[in-house]
């Protein structure tokens, strides 16, 4: 299969508009006969399912959770970007496009990113119309805040629960269609195989997680809206159920996997507290607006934060990156934290943490408040108390969450934070239409690789998920489905369904029959440790080669010694996990291979061999300005390269100094 990104001709600014108006349409009576399967119900999935149903297609939507509202998009805290320029601070579609390409370290497709920036304002409008309660100013207008990697205020938010509010908006649109009977919802269902007929995606095998029954579903097109695969690291900010399984199944059926090694490590997460830890919790990037990051100037300093005087603190981000300070992009902030901790300057019991300190800005807000309230000569305590109130209003829920988890009160002592796996820029390779290389198979949102390059900017994930679902796929799917109007629904008795179902049943039976001695979690933790140590924030050739061998060994051990209790025909979470971990193990190997192939550092991918004298990522644009699209093979993967052309942006060394 050749690799063709199908980017329309013409100038960047008019590509999408022009293309949109030339894509073939499907007339309403034909739409009723065309069935679309949407896998996943997060921002991308619900918005796509709802919108396609509104247009008249017959839609089935699947999610493994008990309700589509639980998808992990719900946990996004900070906000959603849009080039509205409501703040009159010089924002524009071009600037959002530029920031995103630069933030992604010049490893994203220009055309896709420009389209994303172009669509971004419509997303806000759509969400407002649905009743999403975005934060407002006293005048009734939408409020904005700053986020990392940008110098304008373009982030729309709903307190620290923006993802929740956006997802509930998309969920309500989806439920509306379910109520009208245009979408059939399959909650507590997991897609376990893609069914292909004559080289096209034609359906799926899904397991009803309550009864264990395998079901066959036909679709003229299948949309993978299955999120990211950060849980390959075991510990991540992803939900416990977030997995790669559905995406991996389609990959094994021939869909290319793009840039698998591009993972985002989020700089502000609550540090690991012990071996029992099952997941990591993010503290929104928006906190970096008001929190200053520091470590003691003296290595191994054991004093409490409050006992370390101002001149013995190293505000290392402000020191290294004066232009952006604490608001550098995530990859830069994460690496800087790791660098300090590795050099022995870490804080807390584990020494694997840095401080995120709000005191300075609490005092600043406190003084403003005192002035507003007309308090003359306020004392420091009074100023601090006033400032705390302001901070509470802005981030109350995050502070409470921090206190709940760590037992420390962040109003009194600085937060301790450390980077954690958060998002995967890599994913299924798609063309401009969001179609994978398998005809009729699409990937949307975090599940695809397309828009964030090697590093995603804050508040852009929500933007991309909704852009894909609300405003891209409804148009681009027409290019394919308009040619399918004469395809009658294929019976699920077709041998291809039969065969797919049998292979799934066999595999599930295999898990149960191993009856080994170790739990699924045991293997998952081991995989996570290999990945974090050798394919995490910093990677090197020797480590990656070791990791590949270790993962291969782990895979063999897994298939010999895993213990999955219960049976396949009942609600059996251990069986679900076994399937997911088996796929993570295979994915882990591919991630290491991809990281090994990319002999450069860019964005979230930092190869220790390739760095500048100051320790910054050193890109190699001549050799690696491409998307790695990996094709699965029985014995090994084949690498396809999609050249990245930058015609509208001057590639430069990324600098936030």
């Amino acid at each position: 299969m050749s690799i063709n990104s199908n980017i329309p001709e013409g100038p960047l600014e008019t590509k999408w508009t022009k293309y949109k108006s030339t894509i073939p349409l499907v007339n309403p009576s034909n739409k009723r006969n065309l069935e679309v399967l949407v896998i996943g119900s997060g921002l991308a999935g619900s918005s796509a399912a709802a919108t396609l149903a509104e247009m008249g297609y017959k839609v089935k939507c699947f999610c493994f959770q008990d309700s589509p509202r639980r998808a992990h998009s719900i946990a996004a805290q900070g906000g959603i970007n849009a080039a509205k320029n409501y703040q009159n601070d010089g924002d524009s579609v071009y600037r959002l496009f530029y920031d995103t390409i630069k933030g992604g370290d010049y490893r994203a497709r220009e055309a896709n990113v420009y389209r994303l920036a172009e669509i971004s304002p419509n997303i806000i409008d759509q969400c407002v119309a649905q009743g999403v309660p975005f934060a407002r100013e006293y005048g009734g207008m939408l409020s904005n805040r700053s986020f990392g990697g940008t110098q304008v205020q373009r982030t729309f938010y709903a307190a620290g629960q923006t993802g929740q509010q956006l997802l509930l908006g998309a969920y309500s649109a989806l439920e509306r269609q379910i109520g009208m009977g245009t979408v059939e919802m399959y909650s507590r269902h997991e897609m376990l195989e893609l069914v292909m007929i004559d080289g096209k995606a034609r359906g799926i095998i899904a397991r009803n997680l309550i009864t264990g029954k395998l079901e066959r579903h036909f679709g003229h097109a299948v949309l993978m809206c299955t999120g990211g695969y950060g849980n390959v690291f075991y510990l991540s900010t992803n939900a416990m159920g977030s997995n790669v399984t559905a995406a991996w199944k389609v990959h094994k059926k021939g869909a290319y996997f793009g840039n698998p090694c591009f993972t985002q490590i989020h700089p502000t997460c609550i540090p690991v507290s012990g071996d029992h830890q099952s997941k990591l919790t993010l503290m929104s990037e928006s906190l970096r607006n008001d929190g200053r990051i520091w470590v003691p100037k003296k290595a191994g300093d054991t004093r409490k934060a409050s006992e370390i005087p101002e001149d013995e603190r190293d505000y290392y981000l402000e020191r290294r990156y004066p232009a952006f300070g604490n608001l550098v992009p995530r990859d830069v902030a994460s690496r800087a934290a790791k660098e300090r901790c590795d050099a022995g300057f870490g804080v807390g019991q584990s020494k694997m943490a840095v401080y995120l300190d709000f005191k300075f800005n609490m005092m600043r807000y406190g003084r403003v408040e005192a002035t507003k309230q007309g308090i003359e000569n306020p004392g420091d305590d009074q100023i601090l108390a006033l400032g705390k109130e302001v901070v509470k209003e802005k981030y109350g829920n995050l502070f409470d969450m921090y206190k709940q988890i760590t037992g420390e009160d962040p109003y009194e002592v600085p937060m301790r934070i450390y980077p954690a796996v958060h998002y995967t820029m890599g994913g299924l390779w798609v063309d401009y239409n969001l179609m994978t290389n398998i005809p009729g198979l699409y990937a949307l949102g975090e599940a695809n690789f397309s828009d964030h390059g090697a590093n995603r900017l804050g508040a852009s994930a929500l933007m991309q998920g909704l852009a894909d679902g609300y405003f891209v796929i409804p148009y681009t799917i027409g290019a394919y489905l308009s040619k399918e109007i004469s395809t009658k629904a294929i019976s699920v008795d077709h041998p291809a369904f039969e065969e797919a179902e049998n292979s799934v049943r066999e595999k599930l039976g295999k898990f149960i029959s191993i009856k080994g001695s170790k739990s699924v979690d045991h293997f998952h933790k081991k995989l996570g440790k290999i990945m974090w140590d050798k394919c995490g924030m910093a990677r090197n050739e020797a480590g990656l080669k070791e990791a590949i061998e270790e993962i291969k060994a782990l895979r063999t051990e897994f298939w010999q010694d895993v213990r999955v209790p219960g049976s396949i025909d009942e609600l059996n979470p251990e069986l679900e996990k076994a399937g997911r971990v088996a796929d993570f193990i295979e994915l882990g190997e591919l991630m290491c291979m991809d990281a090994l192939d990319r002999n450069e550092s860019c964005g979230g991918h930092f190869r220790e061999e390739f760095q500048t004298e100051e320790g910054e990522a050193l890109r190699d644009d001549n050799a690696f300005s491409y998307v790695s699209a990996w094709q699965y093979g029985e014995n090994n993967w084949t690498l396809h390269k999609e050249e990245l052309k930058f015609e509208n942006i001057k590639i430069a060394q990324r600098s936030y100094k």
Binding site: A50, T51, E54, Q65, D66, S67, R69, R70, A71, H72, I74, A75, K84, N122, D125, Q126, V128, A129, Q130, G131, V132, P133, F134, R136, Y138, G140, M141, L142, A158, A159, Q161, Q164, Q165, Y171, S172, A173, E175, R176, I178, G179, S187, I210, A239, M240, S273, G274, H276, S278, K279, L282, D400, M401, I405, G407, P474, S519, P565, G566, P573, E574
Partner: protein, 254 residues
């Protein structure tokens, strides 16, 4: 490690929805106070798997208090002994050495038990499908700033919209009433101008579905709000009552 605890768990075990179910007692040793309640259950399940028993099935996903999937009735309270948090945010430092902890599933006719501690809350989805939305198709929207919304209204709508749909309100209510859940959505959308055009239809449809699902009537005990992890206010319920009354008495289409 010092400070670690030994605990006794009494957990509801039920094979499937038709099984009668029973309590099982488990001894937990050396539990760290830094562990979350669900991580303690991970440890329990690891033990059970290693001894060849069936692990306890419980719902959970995000483990950061926002997805609303976790649902345990712990020592007589939904989401356990602390206010305003979900089970996944409950940490073992809230217990002490030697405690006996009784864990049950949500109990409501409208939330049948699926297995062990997992219940079926799809009734909530059906209530939303009945009317918990603004009927606006993609592409219909005008500019977001064309509809000024006062900060007070936006904040109040947000406070109602913060509901995570976990069902603790139903679990806590002696009548298994879903009024707090329904009222939060009704109120969010009736405060905002976007939701006003169809507010009468919405409230009728959602209440009809709520009743159809078999949730009880609200007797204003306030248990729902007291146990709500997102502290959804009881004033939502008053607003729902008012809205419903108006929709049936005053609205000419009703």
């Amino acid at each position: 490690m010092s400070g670690n605890m030994n605990l006794t768990l009494k957990v509801w075990r039920q094979k499937n929805s038709s099984d009668k179910g029973r309590f099982e007692t488990y001894k937990m040793q050396d539990i760290s106070p830094d562990m979350s309640f669900l991580e303690m259950f991970d440890v329990l399940n690891e033990q059970l798997i290693n001894t060849g028993e069936e692990p306890v099935v419980f719902d959970h996903d995000c483990r950061e208090g926002i997805c609303g999937m976790c649902s345990m009735y712990i020592n007589g309270r939904p989401h356990g002994p602390k206010d305003a948090i979900t089970t996944c945010q409950l940490h073992m430092r809230s217990f002490k050495d030697g405690d006996i902890i009784v864990v049950e599933p949500w109990r409501a006719a409208a939330f049948p038990v699926l297995k062990d501690l997992a219940v079926d809350r799809s009734a909530f989805d059906r209530i939303i499908a009945a009317g918990g939305f603004v009927s606006v198709n993609t592409g219909n929207a005008q500019d977001g700033n064309n509809l000024p919304i006062s900060k007070v209204d936006a904040d109040e709508a947000f406070a109602s919209a913060a509901c995570i749909g976990c069902g603790a309100c139903v679990a806590a209510c002696k009548n298994a009433s879903a009024m707090l859940f329904v009222s939060a959505k009704v109120n969010q959308l009736s405060i905002l101008p976007q939701g006003k055009p169809e507010r009468m239809q919405r409230v009728r449809a959602m209440v009809a579905q709520m009743d159809k699902e078999g949730f009880g009537a609200c007797t204003n005990t306030g248990a729902c709000s007291a146990e709500c992890p997102k502290e959804i206010s009881l004033s939502n319920i008053a607003a729902l009552n008012r809205e419903f009354l108006m929709a049936n008495l005053i609205d000419q289409e009703g």
